[in-house]
């Protein structure tokens, strides 16, 4: 039935990808709600206070990216290992557990006061809630661990019984790192300073550590498929990239230790190492373009190629350039926790992890649906959505950066610094523009959804095209 799928068990990736996209839509809707609350402060209050919308926005982001990573692994590991997935049943089961746990969590945020939710879900047994990005109730956190372990087991067993490639081993290493580092989410000392110190072991060591391994592996897989470049070359690149990522990223964690009560020497350790963190992202950019330029075949999925190249460029801009901008201690002293941080957070997450997941979906989804690539018209629409989302995210970033520079200036630099709220009033125009760009992003996302349902024009068009040649 699916002649293109090399291993039927790869099909488990499909529900993961579909769910990822669905949650992505939810994430953006809540982003737009918050964007409006930034300028119309009482919008939807008290039904959806800002903090609730924010939890939904960021948690949906993380969860849909995890769905995307898992889908990617289920799709590419059988093909890399040249064997069926160890247990498709387990993969389906975990899909439902993760989806239900995720849905219940979001419903809990929206329907129950957070303090009540904490009480209901055993937060008093082990206090883990109420920290940024780690707001999930205890049962959800345990659920995440269970799903991650079952998933790593399933992928690990598949790799063990089959061919071991650099791509699958690096992906597995990244996934194990992801699961292991999440365990620090359960450590929450009552000392805020040490709490923060280890909180970053989840947040920073994820996005500037192990997730980069996952990202590089997914990119490498797609590039091999669409360019036909020799695996040896690609895998050597892969090792260079992940070496740079971890050697700079691990000690680079120190760029979060400047002002939270840790010793001052972190301003040097964190500054120097994190200033080198753009290198792996730059290497990925060069890698993508190099491979596409050296391609040995013209893959008909042009949209996937565009996403892959886009990931290379945007990850470097968002993580590399916007990260470097505020990573040195003397700069970070002024920009820490401002709209500059939000600007960087958006472009980095989008350019690196959103785009790499959309890359693998773009490549794999047509095959999962029984064709090598989507019809021409669908691809054109998908490429429109690429440009709309990417360009509007660049504008969101620029507007937030504008807001941030003014905020820092008025609140932290000038001689008569002004209070936070007074400054917010003066930068409203940037927040309005951000919301506008957000709406364009939403339009791009809707086009993206539509592109899945677009078919080619009826046959007659093709016949008409041929006629001139006959005359």
């Amino acid at each position: 039935m699916l002649p293109l799928l090399q291993y039927p068990s790869q099909a488990v990736a499909k529900p993961y990808f579909i769910t990822a996209i669905g949650l992505f839509v939810g994430q953006i809707l809540f982003g737009l709600i918050m964007g409006l609350q930034y300028v119309i402060g009482d919008f939807m209050f008290p039904a959806i206070p800002f903090n609730i919308a924010r939890m939904v926005h960021t948690n949906l982001l993380i969860v849909w990216l995890l769905f995307g990573f898992m889908g990617a692994a289920y799709y590419l590991v059988p093909e890399e290992s040249e064997t069926e997935l160890h247990s498709p049943l387990l993969a389906y089961l975990m899909f439902w557990i993760f989806l239900i746990a995720g849905a219940l969590t979001i419903a809990g945020y929206l329907l129950v006061p957070y303090a009540t939710l904490a009480e209901m879900t055993g937060n008093n047994l082990l206090q883990t809630m109420g920290r940024e990005f780690l707001e999930q109730p205890l049962p959800t956190k345990v659920g995440i661990v269970v799903v991650a372990l079952a998933f790593v087991y399933n992928i690990g067993m598949t790799i063990l019984k089959g061919r071991k490639t650099a791509i699958s081993m690096i992906l597995l290493a990244g996934l194990i790192g992801l699961a292991v580092l999440f365990l620090f989410a359960f450590y929450n000392p009552s000392n805020l300073a040490t709490d923060k110190y280890f909180w970053w072991w989840v947040v920073h060591l994820w996005v500037e550590g192990v997730w980069e391994l996952i990202m590089a592996a997914i990119l490498a897989f797609v590039l091999i498929k669409i360019t036909g470049v020799d695996r040896e070359v690609i895998e050597k690149w892969l090792y260079v990239i992940i070496t740079l990522a971890l050697v700079t990223g691990i000690i680079g964690t120190g760029h979060h230790y400047y002002w939270i009560g840790a010793p001052a020497y972190w301003q040097w350790w964190g500054g120097v190492f994190s200033a080198l963190e753009p290198l792996p992202f730059f290497a990925m950019t060069v890698f993508c373009f190099n491979m596409v330029n050296r391609r040995r075949r013209q893959h008909p999925n042009k949209a996937a190629t565009l996403w892959a190249l886009g990931t290379g460029v945007m990850a470097f801009l968002g993580a590399g350039v916007w990260g470097f901008l505020h990573t040195l201690a003397p700069v970070n002293y002024y920009t820490h926790g401002s709209q500059i941080t939000a600007a960087h957070g958006h472009l980095a997450f989008y350019g690196a992890y959103v785009m790499v997941v959309l890359t693998i979906i773009s490549y794999a989804m047509p095959i999962l649906r029984g064709r090598e690539c989507n019809p021409e018209r669908a691809q054109v629409l998908e490429m429109w959505s690429f440009w709309l989302m990417t360009v509007s995210m660049v504008f969101i970033t620029l507007f937030l950066t504008g807001a941030g520079i003014l905020q820092v200036w008025l609140q932290r630099v000038i001689d008569n610094p002004q209070p936070f709220m007074a400054v917010q009033d003066q930068v409203r125009i940037f927040y309005w523009l951000r919301e506008l760009a957000g709406l364009v992003f939403l339009i791009g996302l809707v086009l993206y959804l539509v592109s899945f349902f677009v078919k080619d024009k009826p046959q007659t068009v093709a016949v008409n095209d041929v006629q001139p040649a006959a005359t």
């Binding site: 903090n51 940024e132 805020l192 610094p417 917010q424």
Partner: protein
Amino acid sequence: MSAFFTKSRARNIFYGGVVFSALLFLALTFHTIRKMPQRDHRENLTAEVVRGKHLWETRNCVGCHTILGEGAYFAPELGNVYKRRGPDFIKAWIKVQPTGVAGRRQMPQFHFSEQQLDDIVAFLKWTSEINTENWPPNIEG
């Protein structure tokens, strides 16, 4: 270059680099953990402060505010609010929320008891005394 720089050599550099970085990071962490007590003054971590942090977390304050620069950017920095406003203002402020001013950003009403308000204040006071290398740059946060 490619004859010398083989894939297996690249892999070995990766292993070596990661092990070295992780060990160095752990060593720095170990040293940091030993130095932190002098900087965070944990001898002042009273039961009140501990309860205050619990309230801070279960009300998801960090969903709108930053604390020592981390959190959300919707509402003012609270790491130094104890120094900016003082205990009485903080308690009075929390009690009268939401302001209900049309179009203004709103903070929810948490129905805290007097004891809970004291706990929150104790937590914010303790936080404001952490040695943050003089961050934030000024009292406005």
